[in-house]
Symmetry: C2
Subunit: 449 residues, 2 copies
Amino acid sequence: MRLSRYFLPVLREVPKEAEIVSHRLMLRAGMIRQQAAGLYSWLPIGYKVLMKIQRIVEEEQNRSGAIQLLMPTIQSADLWRESDRYDAYGKEMLRIEDRHEREFLYGPTNEEVITDIFRSYVKSYKDLPLNLYHIQWKFRDEVRPRFGTMRAREFLMKDAYSFDLDKDGAVKAYERMFVAYLRTFHRLGLIAIPMRADTGPIGGDLSHEFIVLADTGESAVFCHKDLLDKPIPGPDTDFRGDLKPIVDDWTSLYAATEEMVDMAEYEASVPEEKRVSARGIEVGHIFYFGTKYSEPMNAKVMGPDGKEVAVHMGSYGIGPSRLAAALIEAHHDDAGIVWPVSVAPFEAMLINLKAGDAACDEACGKLYNELAAAGIDVLYDDRDQGAGAKFATADLIGIPYQIVLGPRGLASGEAEIKHRKSGERETLPIAQAVERLKSLIEPQRRNNV
Amino acid sequence: MRLSRYFLPVLREVPKEAEIVSHRLMLRAGMIRQQAAGLYSWLPIGYKVLMKIQRIVEEEQNRSGAIQLLMPTIQSADLWRESDRYDAYGKEMLRIEDRHEREFLYGPTNEEVITDIFRSYVKSYKDLPLNLYHIQWKFRDEVRPRFGTMRAREFLMKDAYSFDLDKDGAVKAYERMFVAYLRTFHRLGLIAIPMRADTGPIGGDLSHEFIVLADTGESAVFCHKDLLDKPIPGPDTDFRGDLKPIVDDWTSLYAATEEMVDMAEYEASVPEEKRVSARGIEVGHIFYFGTKYSEPMNAKVMGPDGKEVAVHMGSYGIGPSRLAAALIEAHHDDAGIVWPVSVAPFEAMLINLKAGDAACDEACGKLYNELAAAGIDVLYDDRDQGAGAKFATADLIGIPYQIVLGPRGLASGEAEIKHRKSGERETLPIAQAVERLKSLIEPQRRNNV
């Protein structure tokens, strides 16, 4: 993509309303624009990041055996009356009346709709286990939305729902999602720790939050240090096999959010030098809640013994729009964002130091075409601007590799590659730039499966 | 995908509420489920089709130079007051009050929001031309939603918005979208004819609808027969070059919807044997409307002469969720849907005629793995069901190629391939099935770029 034909409205000033670094950087880098309190447009590079996150989430959901569909954003109030949550949900639910004065709402979550879909079609235990998920915009009318897309009112959520004949089956479904979540966050470039959590308005008796440690996190967390560098289950994980050993291994070390922590237990089970007491950002939340919805909503199947039973359910959420912000909290420096290759809006940025100069334009144009032909997703800064502004933009928007070419390099036949993360620079013959970049980027792509 | 692990709730009965064939088939094939009047869930194969449509739309938008972003579904009423459309829009607009009693709405279209984004960042003619698009759910509170996803209340729309310094530039932007739309519908497997159209509530003085001919179409259309087999601009079309000759060529032949038709002109300009008077489904609509929004909303840029001018705008809509239905209206037979390869939920369906038989399971399992390894998107019917039911399901959901294998074929070493569209069957050695399918599918993929 040529920057002169793109839409990348970076801001020079630090927006006053933004309290946390990810919000500031998303505004400054032209990733998002606030349309109203808690409502954001995703500008082109923001949208690209969001879709890269979504793709990884989908791949890991699919790998685990979950099946994708899509439910509408607007839901009927009547369904929520069946589960008795319509009146209980409170002011966070955006309630809507249509032209015929029928009551609807903008879905804050989808337990009711998915249970309705399930009960309409599934009648036998033979069709279980089943895990259905979608990635759809949700709305929660927070009293005071803040922190940008970290806590927006309209936000993107992946929510999966599992259906099983009994608790044993449901726990296996829970384990599959537990492992899928470990893999998902790892591929996104995050260290996310599963912690026992409160079940809140979803209900149920088994729940983990996945927490990324960050100073700006919304709650205090307490965990064992060894959780920070535990190896992640690989792409060859058999999701139809027994995942209990993996889950047991992860949950054997103490980790809890402030709502759940028992300080005596924490101190008893974690040696002092292994105690991590920090702040954390919730990036995923999984629940097992048994028959809380299937019982009142009559989602029953015929069991092997010919008797009808209410199915055991769980739900599993990840917020891609919140993750975009959490990723920046985890990956930034003073100059701006530092994207991992897996979610970067572009993998490389080509900087023409003297746009308008015929020789520079020709050499950069050629290099740009070669990079694109090599399958590298490259943003080409071909604008008539000073070098300083171009470097600052490249650093701010956080593209992993910069390739810099100007009159001096052209004279000596050399380009420069800057590694955004380490700051390292290497000078190399222009003719080798494409191969060198491929050798830097491709292993990161290959490892991210 | 193994059907035993998938979620494909086909219905045996013809749903009573469905008036048109696409609605009936989408319900029967387990593509959609109605959640409330005009609100649909997209079940797994429906969702896959919707995403394949979306991908083609995106590819052609990007090729034409349009840039993707994403605006929220919920919009502030204040913005619509600036353009004077808030009160004018009427009951089709879903109006919403949040917990602080501020007025919002569920966007039926996005001229106001995109104009707000534009005016916030773009200040100079040097940043033009610009075409920004998104693919987002919209809501229009139709008094009587019907025809399934053809006329839903919540529907998916691609809407692009062009910004230019003057009318000349805006007409060029219009031409780019005109050609992009020709290519998009062609790749989707549709013959869509551009027709002069009324501009309606969007406003403006230049507008074309793209119309697919179908008996169930919502309006009468009148056009020259030669438009039905006009060659489509190829993938090498230069969208930065002069597209006027292509647009002139297409618009030189008479074509108009009933709202716009001048029967005298129609009969004078189209020889009797070339007159097509039929019904049509609108699948796309493009508008040029000058400064209708930029003037009241103050979206101005500095021109080359240093003077501020309101930008000339156009908007360009395609509805992927409506297209899924329109595609079925155009591609079905008595047995069910007949998908083109480009948008089929799966490219091939492997039918095991005797699931549970060890030899059949082994041979089919092997074939399934080979097909998947060859990059063919295959659905494997491994369920313990009779052959008749399996054939009926395969025909109903419209997968382009069926590969059938059972005990008799296993004994003779032969499989059967059925072409869904022609009904043609061919028997061939099992070992050749993968190569044969590749040779059938790959050219269709290659041509669809």
